[in-house]
């Protein structure tokens, strides 16, 4: 089993303009693009929305990672094409794929460029209670640890003659049991140890917690926020008054 798809959501420290943006701006970016993607179903419009997202990927130096995450979803795309074409139209399946690509791209941009600890700070600034924001960032911290643990368990089971990729779909699913049970038990034990160590480090001992790091909106953030909102309003106007756009934008496949 590979964890390649997870790579698309793993933060890596880089010095680019996208990385230096405030996490809230990037959250707004991801949200607006996702809403726009849901709002439209015309292939060309979705395609242009998708194209307009490209500069962000390039500016964040994320092209390779992004390709990886899109490649990881090939199977899903195939399923979408087959089912949508069978039960609906081919055009619908293409617009569905574009939609998913926009949503995945925009959220993977968010997770790839926001430090998990900053993520917590931005949640706090959105008035999310500290305990919830903290457990959110904690779960990110332990993704690589659990992945290593899973790999160790796979190796240990393989060395005792366990074969994971054998047989049909059902027996492959059954094959996961010797992997999942130890993994869940280990994770629960680990969670216990983590809780113990949090308690020993004064977690929750006072309501007036202080913060070593802080996040702040800069000029770049305000500028991008204004552009994004303008873009969003433009999207809504186009949705409400489709006559404003040339006809060819509404073209669909004949099937």
């Amino acid at each position: 089993m590979s964890f390649e798809f997870m790579e698309a959501f793993k933060f890596i420290q880089k010095k680019t303009i996208i990385h230096s943006l405030d996490p809230r701006t990037k959250l707004l970016l991801a949200t607006i693009y996702s809403i726009l993607a849901i709002m439209f179903e015309e292939i060309f419009i979705l395609f242009f929305i998708f194209l307009s997202f490209f500069p962000f990927i390039i500016a964040g130096q994320l092209f390779k990672k992004w390709i990886k995450s899109i490649r990881g979803m090939t199977f899903l795309f195939l399923l979408l094409i087959i089912f949508n074409t069978l039960f609906s139209t081919f055009s619908k399946s293409i617009s569905m794929i574009l939609r998913i690509m926009i949503m995945v791209s925009s959220f993977s941009l968010f997770f790839l460029t926001v430090h998990p600890d900053d993520l917590m700070l931005s949640l706090l600034s959105l008035k999310v209670p500290y305990n919830i924001a903290f457990s959110f960032s904690l779960s990110f911290r332990f993704v690589p640890t659990i992945a290593i643990e899973a790999q160790n368990i796979i190796d240990a089971q393989k060395s005792r003659g366990y074969e994971m990729e054998q047989g049909g779909l059902i027996s492959q699913a059954k094959n996961l049991i010797p992997l999942l049970i130890p993994l869940i038990v280990c994770s629960m034990k680990r969670a216990f140890h983590i809780a113990e160590s949090l308690d020993s480090r004064a977690f929750g001992s006072t309501k007036n917690r202080t913060y070593y790091y802080s996040i702040s909106f800069t000029k770049k953030d305000w500028l991008l926020t204004v552009i994004l909102i303008a873009f969003f309003i433009f999207g809504i106007i186009v949705k409400l008054f489709p006559d404003l756009l040339p006809n060819w934008l509404f073209w669909r496949f004949p099937v």
């Binding site: 911290r141 983590i194 308690d199 480090r201 004064a202 001992s205 006072t206 913060y211 070593y212």
Partner: protein
């Protein structure tokens, strides 16, 4: 002054058959480097859990007697509050590091108790300096080695400035060289910082015995010997306890059994050297 006081304390975990700690009477005084030893399953970890309130607050069970930390009963004061007095460093550093970089990791404790930014900053700098991890400051916990992780875990406890720090087998996952470095770091902390007492659970007695002022020997949940290091090492109970007896002690012990040597057993290489020189 008594920092921690056990008054006839006994404890049995929920769903366990036997008491894991039995009639513990113990006074921990300030200014000491205390070694806690005993074989696996003797109750060492449970004893230290009782020192910062994890027993009975995190681990529930049947309790007799009381434990006081600087006069506060551990039954009534939450562990998160007690953690300002007693810091606990666990065996596996991986499970203690919860932030995505070292600096934030060290800041976590002071943040929790609401320390203002300026003081937090100076505490972080000080802890980074004393544990010698300046080069790791911006690294993620999974990018650094086990020894380095343990240093970070120690720094993160130091930042809370507790009076007592307890180390539960801090070197068990490390190679011998890193283990020596970590244990020397502990002594350095005791000498340089205002930490008044260090308690260490450790199996590598070779390295840690020369550092210890006091030794507590525990077996089957009871403290069977407690006193100055030479006193405990020279006692019958220590030699029969099944702990990993240091080479210098065991060699002179054998000589003693054959009536070749009479006197106090040496507990460090230095003492052994002096002893051999004096025989010449």
């Amino acid at each position: 002054m008594n920092l921690i006081k056990f008054e006839d304390f006994s404890f049995k975990y929920d769903q366990a058959q036997d008491f894991v700690l039995k009639d513990i009477k113990l006074n921990i005084e300030s200014g000491k480097f205390i070694l806690l030893c005993g074989i696996t399953g003797s109750g060492k970890t449970s004893l230290v859990r009782a020192m910062n309130g994890l027993i009975p607050q995190f681990y529930h069970g049947e309790i007799k007697g009381d434990v006081f930390v600087k006069g506060k009963n551990t039954k009534n004061v939450p562990t998160s509050t007690l953690s300002r007095d007693v810091g606990l460093v666990f065996q596996n550093p991986e499970n203690q590091l919860i932030a995505m970089n070292v600096e934030r990791e060290i800041a976590f404790g002071p943040e929790n108790i609401g320390i203002p930014w300026d003081e937090m900053d100076s505490r972080i700098k000080e802890c980074i300096k004393i544990t010698d991890i300046e080069h790791l400051r911006k690294k993620a916990p999974f990018e650094i080695s086990g020894g380095e992780q343990q240093r970070v875990a120690i720094a993160s406890i130091l930042a809370l400035q507790p009076e007592i720090i307890i180390f539960d087998e801090p070197t068990s996952l490390l190679d011998p060289k890193s283990a020596i470095q970590i244990l020397n770091l502990l002594k350095k902390i005791l000498l340089e910082k205002k930490i008044s007492t260090i308690i260490v659970i450790e199996h590598r007695l070779d390295i840690v015995l020369p550092l210890a002022d006091e030794v507590i020997l525990i077996d089957k949940g009871r403290i069977i010997e407690h006193g100055e290091a030479h006193y405990v090492i020279n006692g019958e109970k220590f030699l029969n306890s099944g702990v990993n007896i240091p080479k210098c002690v065991s060699v002179f012990q054998k000589l003693m059994n054959q009536n070749i040597f009479i006197g106090k057993l040496p507990i460090s290489i230095e003492e052994t050297k002096n002893l051999i020189n004096s025989i010449k």
